[in-house]
Symmetry: C2
Subunit: 455 residues, 2 copies
């Protein structure tokens, strides 16, 4: 029996640069707007929130941006991460397709998130920042920033969406083990939190609210900045180590993807694996089909509007043009908490708008089904978010079987599910439901989009 | 700042053989006795429980035993595992010592246990076995055998100590995700389980009882065998991939350990990292100080008697000469469930008796303290069992600081603690206690040891 195969790069092959897709876009990104004036933002407008090094990356159009050596030193703990050919899964499916996956669950915090948490902590430390505030949904980002903060001696305060905070005490415990403080959001520690609690003391929270709280605190103090785990250009930039490595590993395997599949919440694991391949295509290289998989209960790419919107609920953040369900949209409480965001990364939205990628929405039960099938074949238990990518890849492989053709499928297994076992228990116990949002709520949220004159 | 360093072997350097310390022992192991006759056992006596390939390994005195290629293929998913120089931890401790750790938490099930679960499933599959029964305490072994069973198409039934079964639903869910069935022990599925439940329906269970249940079922059917996750010679043999790799990695680092530290429950992660170094020493190589760390609440090496005893409570297993607290001893419910066993591997007991290793017992709170310090410095959250090794290594490093000398310390970080977060929550909440056994209970259990004429 031929077994699954691991492709591992030598440490010397770990990327020295991140890849910036802004250099290769056929059209530039629409400008970011100031929340007060609705006019295009200058770099200085972002200084209350981010150190200048990150702001420069946010607006850069350089193709390659050097990864600082102290960041590479930390990356080396788990990078280059392995790429696997899932031959055991192929056999179970009886597909002629070749399925490869990049595994990002090998990081200490268990997902791709440390790829950006580490440089963000590094640049903030370099700028003399003492404290970082952030938000987290499922907890993968919060624990990654807690990890990075511990390494660089930065205090970390995490606003965790209340429903996740209460359902996932183990994620919170992981953040606390790393030395971070984790607060249920909405909280009484901020004005925006208190305003919401005054109206509804048992509010379950949302990523949009947690962002408002974190941004509010960061803006108040010079020694405190804000960190975001997805959506922004510099976050996706940092994640491109995933795709750059994957390109070298596919070359090791003597293969090249026909299809790349990744799940999308804010878009960072998607951009991370996809952009280096898409950039090569934009520069005249081989064309790749690219499929974004999103949850049917929070379908920004497939059902959202491509429009200017705020990143948070209290409208403290700048406005970006993106696929959005509206900043007041509250998605139902499905298990992939990392995908429960009303908006989508402007970069991912832009390439979707340009017709360079496809998007599909899945309900959660079929994703868990795929995750269990994957775990039994390949031994790795995926996070609920990653199960969306697994489902997408399996569906592509089954289509190959149906059509009797072999294609090379690559997907991003962005994290393990060790802290999401309650979701699996619910799945096995038949308690999982395929949740849907209310059409009327979506319509209302979309109707509430800010009216912005075309830039 | 000089960061922690990873030493990673090339796949081509993955061991092709396991190392069998029986070849280098200055005195042979005392014989194993039949539970009925109390006479030395022949290989045939073990055939109801194990396939012949494993029985041969159990009694072999060949120095090198080849790792079958299908086992190496599965090993390659996570092996060779990394060895790290913990420079960030060294800096936090301010020690002149060099601290290295071998990290076995990279396996799909999260610990060293798949190193033996995979070959055990392979040999059973080769012998046409359809089903394996086993026991588990903390759940690391049960989930590892479930993983291996899924890969080789073998049904797995796990008897999980009831107190762990009820406290750790997530470990159970992991086993079920891999397709195994997990039953709380004592159960009504076996005669030995029913006998205990009849006396005490709410019995919390113990590893000794769970072993009785698993052995009873395996002995009844030709297509069913039994698998053990520690203690036996062949299990420790399989774990030597850890130490063989570590030797090559220490050579990469241009260093050699003065001290090796590992935790001991049944002895398998300890034997795995220690025996290749100890064997080299026995063949005339450099002398290494070797320190076994055990829980003060279940201190077989430091407080047990070196005597013949049963491996289980119902006395269905053969008798081995080992350090034991008595098969009726029930340790208090501390959090490192993988170390809650009344006996110790005969091989580890033997080298202890020969004065080749030291042993120390620690209470749990100081071990969690060490684990949190390690997590904040190195980013990896250790399992409660592994925290004992971390504490031991930190204490050695602090002694170096006190004495103003540098020594090279190597320890085995045998697994991550992702499924043990409740223990960390209890630790942070001040709810953890340093448990002790009752001296009178230990005396009674030791008095009940079977009387066996000197072999």
């Amino acid at each position: 029996m031929s077994d699954s195969i691991k492709y591992l790069l030598d440490e010397s092959q770990m990327p020295k640069h991140w890849y910036n897709i802004a250099a290769d876009l056929p059209e530039p990104l629409p400008p970011v707007l100031h929340p007060g004036t609705l006019k295009p933002l200058g770099p200085d407008d972002l200084t209350p929130l981010f150190p200048m090094a990150l702001i420069e990356q946010e607006v850069s159009t350089e193709r390659e941006i050097e990864i600082p050596e102290p960041v590479r030193q930390v990356y080396r703990q788990w990078r280059p991460s392995p790429l696997f050919r899932a031959r055991r899964l192929e056999r179970v499916l009886g597909t002629p397709a070749k399925i490869y996956y990049k595994y990002e669950g090998v990081s200490p915090a268990g997902s791709h998130k440390p790829n950006t948490a580490v440089p963000q902590a590094f640049y903030n430390r370099q700028a003399g920042i003492k404290k970082l505030t952030t938000e987290t949904g499922a907890g993968q980002w919060g624990s990654s920033l807690a990890f990075a903060g511990a390494l660089f001696g930065i205090e970390v305060l995490v606003f965790m969406v209340r429903v996740s905070h209460d359902q996932k005490p183990y994620r919170r415990a992981l953040m606390e083990t790393y030395g971070a403080r984790c607060v249920a959001s909405p909280s009484s520690e901020t004005q925006s939190g208190r305003a919401i609690l005054a109206k509804r003391p048992d509010h379950p929270g949302s990523l949009g609210i947690a962002i408002s709280e974190a941004v509010e605190l960061a803006a108040q103090r010079d020694d405190t900045k804000y960190a975001l785990g997805s959506v922004l250009n510099h976050v996706l930039l940092h994640q491109t180590v995933v795709g750059i490595e994957a390109m070298a590993q596919m070359e090791m395997a003597g293969d090249y993807p026909d299809v790349i599949v990744a799940c999308t919440g804010g878009g960072s694991n998607f951009g991370g694996i996809v952009f280096p391949f898409l950039g090569a295509q934009l520069r005249g290289g081989k064309k790749v089909r690219i499929v974004a998989i999103e949850p049917a209960a929070c379908p920004s790419l497939t059902r959202g509007k491509y429009a200017y919107d705020f990143g948070d609920t209290a409208h403290l953040t700048p406005l970006t043009k993106m696929h959005t369900l509206g900043s007041t949209f509250t998605p139902p409480g499905f298990h992939a908490g990392g995908l429960r965001y009303h908006g989508m990364s402007p970069l991912v939205s832009h390439v979707k708008q340009l017709g360079l990628i496809e998007a599909r929405a899945y309900h959660q039960i079929s994703c868990f089904e795929a995750g269990v099938q994957f775990a039994r074949a390949e031994g790795i238990l995926p996070a609920p978010e990653a199960n969306h990518a697994v489902r997408g890849a399996i569906d592509e492989a089954l289509r190959c079987k149906q059509e009797g053709v072999s294609r090379t499928i690559l997907f991003n297994l962005c994290g393990h599910g060790h802290f999401d076992m309650q979701a699996y228990i619910d799945y096995f116990g038949g308690k999982l439901k395929d949740l849907d949002y209310e059409e009327s709520e979506l319509a209302m949220a979309l109707a509430g989009l800010p009216s912005v004159a075309a830039a």
